[in-house]
């Protein structure tokens, strides 16, 4: 994380909290709220290096989180969460500051609410983005990879900067949420290699990340509709001894989503389009633009208050002009197989709640293609040599 932002947020918090404490109001430092979660699972992948380079059952399905928040004044709040993740090859293993922010509630009426978040904030724009690391709060152990790609997790999960949330509730028109965010995510060398290639010796840096989203739920309706827009720029600075040259990547991502929450049935879907422009990197004059598209539809059926079933189907291709990957294979002289141009996933799953804070989840994925296998920019067909592959996962999760 950007150390300056951490220090600034903490200093502002300590000054304000200290002031508030000295005022001896009924809100004091005692008003901390603590929450957390712990989840451990078993995961077996047959046919890809999604979790590990070899076959077999892995315990690399660990997610731990602890958060704290306190109300400093009537309209100022401090909140922070740390997480530890181990997902094998899915993302960088280790601890992270998930969010650390000051929340200024600048508008609060019966119908309007406005909050400004400064510091490290979570991505609140997509259907499941804000709780993608919270095992019991997401619909499945592995989320749809075309939107919630684990290789991009550390870039997409949030940012260091500011976010704005405005909500409006109308008895006739329904509930509206408008969100904006502007901030970048720091990336380590390991994360750079996860995204680009194991051979990349330089570092990738996020220069810009601007996002906006709008959600609408009609009055007393079970439906919710949303759209989101993302614009992000990255630059790669090649090392002295490097296969790659310096370059730039530009990424735009647009989504439309719908959610229906009935008593027993739930439906959700996100459709999206992405534009990815590469300038340089492979050689100084290189320029490539591709437009990817995808969608998933998901349903959940709650058999009773404890047992829920899930079915989801997802399709994604990284270039709409090359849905079957023939051009990709040709342009790489056959080095990159055609199935790296797309990724489809059929999932069935079930979850059982033992009580209010303990859940067991089980799911089976049938995958086709490798467009969402790391590294993304220069794929590894030696390891990922199967067009069809499967994931079986089981996870026990506890939260408080």
């Amino acid at each position: 994380m950007n150390k300056k932002i951490v220090i600034i947020v903490l200093m502002v918090y300590l000054i304000l909290a200290g002031e508030k404490y000295s005022w001896a109001d009924n809100i004091t430092l005692q008003n901390w709220q603590w929450h957390g979660f712990a989840a451990q699972g078993l995961i077996a992948v047959d046919g890809s290096d999604f979790v590990r380079d070899d076959k077999g059952v892995s315990t690399q399905l660990t997610e731990l989180g602890l958060n704290a928040s306190t109300q400093i004044t009537s309209n100022l709040r401090f909140a922070a969460q740390v997480v530890y993740l181990d997902g094998g090859n899915r993302y960088f293993k280790g601890g992270r500051v998930d969010y650390l922010l000051l929340d200024w509630n600048f508008l609060n009426t019966q119908q309007w609410k406005g909050n400004l978040y400064l510091g490290r904030f979570k991505n609140i724009h997509w259907l499941y983005s804000s709780t993608r690391d919270v095992p019991f709060a997401r619909p499945s152990i592995i989320l749809p990879q075309s939107v919630y790609f684990d290789g991009f997790r550390d870039i997409a999960v949030g940012g260091d900067g500011g976010a704005l949330k405005l909500t409006y509730s109308d008895d006739k028109l329904g509930d509206f949420d408008v969100n904006f965010s502007y901030g970048t995510s720091p990336l380590s060398k390991e994360q750079s290699q996860l995204i680009l290639s194991d051979f990349a010796q330089g570092r990738i840096k996020q220069d810009l990340d601007a996002q906006a989203s709008l959600y609408w739920s009609p009055a007393l309706s079970q439906w919710r509709f949303g759209l989101s827009l993302l614009n992000s720029d990255f630059s790669y600075k090649g090392a002295q001894q490097d296969l790659f040259t310096s370059g730039k990547f530009s990424f735009q991502f647009y989504t439309l989503n719908a959610l229906y929450e009935g008593e027993q049935w739930e439906f959700s879907s996100e459709i999206y389009q992405e534009r990815f422009v590469t300038t340089g990197f492979y050689h100084p004059a290189f320029l490539k633009e591709s437009i990817g598209q995808g969608m998933y539809v998901q349903t959940r059926y709650q058999l009773n208050k404890d047992l829920t079933f899930l079915v989801r189907y997802e399709r994604f291709y990284s270039n709409k002009e090359d849905k079957k990957g023939e051009k990709l294979q040709q342009s790489s002289d056959g080095l990159i197989p055609s199935y790296f141009a797309f990724q489809n996933d059929l999932v069935i799953g079930a979850s059982y709640d033992f009580d209010n804070t303990l859940k067991l989840r089980l799911e089976q994925h049938w995958m086709e293609g490798g467009a969402r296998l790391t590294p993304i920019v220069l794929p590894n067909p030696q390891v990922n040599d199967q067009r069809y592959w499967q994931i079986t996962a089981l996870q026990l999760m506890y939260w408080f």
Binding site: Q71, Y99, D103, N108, V134, D175
Partner: protein, 137 residues
């Protein structure tokens, strides 16, 4: 046989039919709330009373039968929908969720002792330290 069945149905109906009261701390100077207002309060979209006093929301655990009744009959929402809203707030840092207490008795006690608090109780409540708020519309 038919009479026995009717008796069982009638009896189960009696047990499941809770009469639900909305209760507030006496510091809250409101005597009626609409269903839409209650939905805003319980989904944490409205976090201050009209006099700018902070709203403190108390609830029972999400699988508690009385909470399930309250959620469906008063808010016209399913308990899992409330859980999702609250989990999103709690674990993404963008807000605070209601405070969960373990029993209806604890809930009444918590509301009576907390300035700006709101909760729910069954109809035979005998506690002069909380106000009963009527639901309109």
């Amino acid at each position: 046989m038919c009479k026995q069945l009717l008796f069982i149905v009638a009896l189960s109906g009696c047990f499941s039919a809770h009469s639900i009261n909305i209760i507030t701390n006496p510091s809250v100077k409101l005597y009626s709330l609409t269903t839409a207002q209650l939905r805003r309060i319980y989904s944490m979209r409205q976090t201050q009373w009209p006099d700018h006093q902070a709203i403190v929301v108390f609830v029972l655990p999400s699988k508690h039968p009385f909470h399930r009744d309250f959620s469906k009959k008063v808010l016209h929402m399913f308990p899992y929908q409330l859980d999702r809203i609250w989990n999103k707030l709690t674990y993404s840092g963008v807000g605070s969720a209601p405070i969960v207490v373990n029993s209806p008795e604890e809930l009444i006690k918590a509301v009576s002792h907390t300035v700006g608090a709101i909760g729910y109780a069954e109809n035979d409540i005998k506690n002069s330290q909380v106000h009963i708020v009527s639901i309109k519309g």
